[in-house]
C-alpha cells in the first residue's frame, strides 16, 4: 500500500485526497454565503479561533505523515538499506542525443547503481518499467564533478525503456535507449 503511494499514480491519489475536501468545503461556504443567506454570520469569535487551530493542526499532521512515510523512499535511505557489496556499478555518459552505458543487460534480482554524467547540455536518465511506470529520473547537469547516482533493484524481466526527460534540443524525443533484464 505505502509502496503504491510513492508512485506517480499514488501521488495523484494523495493529491485528490487533499483537493476534494477543500473543494467541497470551499464551494459549500461560497454557495451558502453568496446565494442562500448572505447576511453576516453571528458565529462567536472563539469558534473562528478554534476552527483556525483545528484547520492548521490537520494540515500540519497531514504534511508530517506524508513526509515521514516517504523517508523510506528517499535515495539516501534506499542506498543505506542496500547491501552495497552486491551492487553492480553502471557508468552512463549522456550526450545529445544518446546514452553510452557500460552495461545494458541484467538479471532479475540484480541491484544496480546507475552513475550518470552529461557531457554537453542538460539531460536526464529516466528508467521506465516494462509496464510503463516511471521508476525514477536523474537530472544530469554538465560540468559537475559529482555524478548523479541512484540504486535500483530489478524485480521483473523485460525491456526497460530509458528516456531523457530534460529538454535538450531538436531531437530531444529521440534520446532514448533500452536495458534488458532476463530471468535469473
Amino acid at each position: 500500500m505505502v509502496d503504491f503511494i510513492y508512485t506517480g499514480w499514488g501521488a495523484l491519489v494523495v493529491t485528490l485526497l487533499m483537493q476534494i475536501p477543500f473543494l467541497i468545503i470551499f464551494f459549500s461556504i461560497v454557495n451558502k454565503k453568496a446565494f442562500v443567506d448572505n447576511t453576516p454570520a453571528e458565529t462567536p469569535a472563539e469558534k473562528y479561533t478554534s476552527t483556525r487551530y483545528l484547520w492548521i493542526a490537520i494540515v500540519l499532521i497531514a504534511f508530517f505523515v506524508v513526509n515521514f512515510a516517504s523517508v523510506k523512499y528517499m535515495p539516501t535511505v534506499v542506498e543505506a538499506n542496500t547491501k552495497m557489496a552486491n551492487v553492480k556499478d553502471v557508468d552512463i555518459s549522456a550526450t545529445s542525443w544518446k546514452f553510452d552505458m557500460s552495461e545494458r543487460n541484467f538479471q532479475v534480482g540484480d541491484t544496480v547503481r546507475f552513475i550518470a554524467k552529461s557531457e554537453d547540455t542538460m539531460h536526464s536518465f529516466a528508467l521506465y518499467h516494462p509496464d510503463g511506470e516511471l521508476l525514477f529520473t536523474m537530472m544530469l547537469m554538465p560540468g559537475l564533478e559529482t555524478a548523479s547516482a541512484l540504486v535500483h533493484t530489478f524485480d521483473k524481466p523485460g525491456i526497460y525503456m530509458v528516456r531523457c526527460l530534460e529538454y535538450c534540443g531538436v531531437n530531444h524525443h529521440g534520446m532514448r535507449s533500452v536495458i534488458t533484464v532476463a530471468e535469473k
Binding site: T137, L165, H172
Partner: protein, 499 residues
C-alpha cells in the same frame, strides 16, 4: 491625447475593449489599460500556439513545429501575457490606492522592454532558437555548436530575453517601490485610500522586492554573457558566469521566486479586493493580522524552496539542501492554509455579493490552491524522483499561470468601470467563468494523470496511451480558448456607466 490612449484607440479589435476617456484620471488609467490590452494580444497568440501542440502530435506534423511552438507558447504565456497583465493591474491598484501617477519613464520603459524583448525572442525562435521558455542553459550555446540554430538567432534571442528581464527585475519593481514609498501623492488620483499596513499593499511590495532581490544576481551573470556575445568582452571573462551549475542555480532562484512573487502579489490583491465585495459593506477581512502572517510565511518559505528543482541531481545536490527544499516547500503550504482560512472566514463572517468579478477571483483562487497541492506533492523528495520531468511538472507550471491570470482577469473586471467608465457585459462574463473553470479542471487533471503515467514534458513524440491525453488536452484547450473569447466579448460589449 497621451501616447498610451492613442495606441489603444488605433488597435484593431482589442482597442474597443480599453478605450479610455480623456480625464483627470488618465495618469492612473492609460498605461495600465494599454498594458492589459497588449497582454491580451499575446494571450491570443499563446492560446492558438498552445492548441497547435496537440494538433501537431495527433496529425504527426513534425517535431520542428512542436519545439518551435512550445517555446513561443511558454514565453508568450509567462512574460508578455501573465506578467504584463500583473504589471498593468498592480500599477492601477497602486495608483488608485496611493494617489500616485502610474505613468512616466519607468512605466513606458517597462512596456517597451517587455514587448520589444518578447518580439525579438519571437523572431529568434522563428529563426530556429528552440530552447523552451526555461532556456535550459547551456543548451542555447550547445545548439549553436551542434548546428541546431545560428549564432545570430542566439544573440537575438538573448537580447530579447535581456530586455524582458530588465523590465521584470528593474524598471517595474523600482516603479512600484517609488510609488509605494517616495513619489508625491496627488489627492485627485486617490480613489480608495489604503495604507502600507494593508495586506493588499504589503503583498505588492513583497512581490516586487522578491523580483528585485532574486533577479539582480541573474542580471549580473546574464549581462557579461550578452557582452561576450556582442564581442565586447573576451570569452575568458565570462567563464565564471557561463558555468552551467552557476547559471542554472541563479536562474532557478529567480525563476522559482518569480512565480512565488506573482503568487504573493495576487494573494495580496485578493486580500485587497474581497472585502470590497462583502454583503455587509464592512470592507474588512476576517483578520488583517492573519492575512499578513500568511504573506510573511509565503515570502520566507518560498525564497529557499527553489531547491526542489534540483532534487533529482542526487548526490550532486547535497541531501541537506534537498531536505531543506522539501521542508520549505511544505512551509509555503502553511501560508496557503492560512490564506484559505482568511478568505473563507471573511466570506462566512461578512457574506458575499455575487458579481462576475468576485467569482472570477474566487475561481482563480480555487485553481491556485488546487495547483498548490500538486506543487507540494512534487516537492516531496521521494515523489520528485517519480514525477520530475513529466507532464505533472509542466502541468503545474501551466496551471499556476492560468490560475494567476484568472485572478488578475477577475481583478480587471473589478477595476474596469474605474478604468474605462464602462461596465462589463454581465451575462457573457458569467458564461465565461463557467467555461473557464470547466476547461481548467479538464486540462489540470489531464496533465496530472499524464504525469502520473510518466508522460515526458516538452517531448515531440507522444506514444501510445499518451496520445489520448494529448487529445483531451486539445478538447479542453479548445474550451479554454472559447472562454477567453467570451472574456474578450464581455469587455467589447461593455456599456457606458450611467451616473
Amino acid at each position: 491625447m497621451s501616447v498610451a490612449n492613442t495606441l489603444i484607440q488605433r488597435a484593431p479589435f482589442f482597442g474597443r475593449m480599453f478605450q479610455i476617456q480623456e480625464n483627470e484620471l488618465n495618469p492612473v488609467n492609460s498605461w495600465p489599460a494599454l498594458m492589459a490590452m497588449t497582454s491580451f494580444v499575446w494571450l491570443s497568440i499563446a492560446a492558438i500556439l498552445g492548441l497547435s501542440m496537440p494538433a501537431i502530435q495527433l496529425f504527426d506534423l513534425g517535431s520542428h513545429w512542436y519545439y518551435q511552438n512550445i517555446t513561443l507558447h511558454g514565453a508568450a504565456m509567462a512574460f508578455p501575457f501573465a506578467f504584463q497583465l500583473m504589471v498593468a493591474m498592480s500599477l492601477h491598484r497602486a495608483g488608485a490606492c496611493l494617489g500616485k501617477r502610474a505613468d512616466g519613464i519607468l512605466v513606458a520603459l517597462t512596456y517597451i522592454l517587455m514587448n520589444v524583448g518578447a518580439l525579438l525572442l519571437t523572431v529568434a525562435v522563428l529563426m530556429g532558437f528552440h530552447v523552451t521558455y526555461t532556456v535550459m542553459f547551456p543548451l542555447p550555446v550547445v545548439g549553436v555548436m551542434t548546428g541546431q540554430w545560428s549564432m545570430s538567432a542566439l544573440v537575438l534571442g538573448f537580447t530579447g530575453i535581456a530586455f524582458v528581464l530588465i523590465s521584470m527585475i528593474l524598471t517595474y519593481p523600482i516603479k512600484i517601490l517609488r510609488m509605494s514609498f517616495f513619489e508625491k501623492k496627488q489627492e485627485e488620483l486617490q480613489l480608495a485610500e489604503r495604507s502600507m499596513k494593508d495586506p493588499g499593499m504589503i503583498g505588492m511590495v513583497m512581490g516586487v522586492l522578491v523580483l528585485l532581490v532574486t533577479g539582480i544576481p541573474l542580471l549580473s551573470i546574464a549581462s557579461p554573457i550578452l557582452l561576450y556575445l556582442y564581442g565586447i568582452i573576451p570569452a575568458e571573462w565570462i567563464a565564471w558566469a557561463a558555468t552551467p551549475v552557476v547559471f542554472e542555480f541563479i536562474f532557478y532562484i529567480f525563476a522559482h521566486n518569480l512565480m512565488e512573487a506573482m503568487a504573493i502579489m495576487i494573494i495580496g490583491a485578493v486580500y485587497a479586493t474581497l472585502p470590497l465585495c462583502t454583503a455587509d459593506g464592512s470592507r474588512r477581512l476576517y483578520s488583517d493580522k492573519i492575512a499578513n502572517l500568511a504573506l510573511w510565511i509565503l515570502l520566507v518559505t518560498s525564497l529557499t524552496s527553489f531547491f526542489h528543482h534540483f532534487f533529482t541531481m542526487y548526490p550532486a545536490l547535497p541531501s541537506t539542501f534537498a531536505y531543506h527544499g522539501n521542508i520549505m516547500s511544505y512551509g509555503t503550504a502553511i501560508g496557503g492554509a492560512l490564506t484559505i482560512f482568511t478568505i473563507l472566514a471573511t466570506i462566512w463572517k461578512h457574506g458575499l455579493v455575487a458579481t462576475p468579478a468576485v467569482f472570477l477571483i474566487l475561481g482563480g483562487f480555487v485553481m491556485y490552491i488546487l495547483d498548490g497541492v500538486t506543487a507540494i506533492v512534487i516537492s516531496n523528495v521521494a515523489w520528485n524522483f517519480k514525477l520530475h520531468g513529466t507532464v505533472w511538472a509542466g502541468g503545474h507550471a501551466m496551471s499556476v499561470l492560468i490560475a494567476i491570470s484568472m485572478l488578475w482577469m477577475g481583478m480587471l473586471y473589478y477595476h474596469y468601470p474605474l478604468m474605462t467608465n464602462r461596465t462589463i457585459d454581465d451575462s457573457t462574463a458569467r458564461k465565461c467563468i463557467k467555461y473557464f473553470f470547466l476547461s481548467f479542471v479538464g486540462l489540470f487533471y489531464t496533465f496530472l494523470a499524464a504525469g502520473a503515467s510518466g508522460m515526458p514534458r516538452r517531448n515531440a513524440n507522444w506514444e501510445g496511451d499518451w496520445l489520448i491525453y494529448g487529445a483531451l488536452l486539445g478538447v479542453f484547450g479548445t474550451i479554454l480558448i472559447y472562454s477567453f473569447y467570451l472574456y474578450f466579448a464581455s469587455l467589447r460589449n461593455s456599456k457606458a456607466l450611467e451616473f
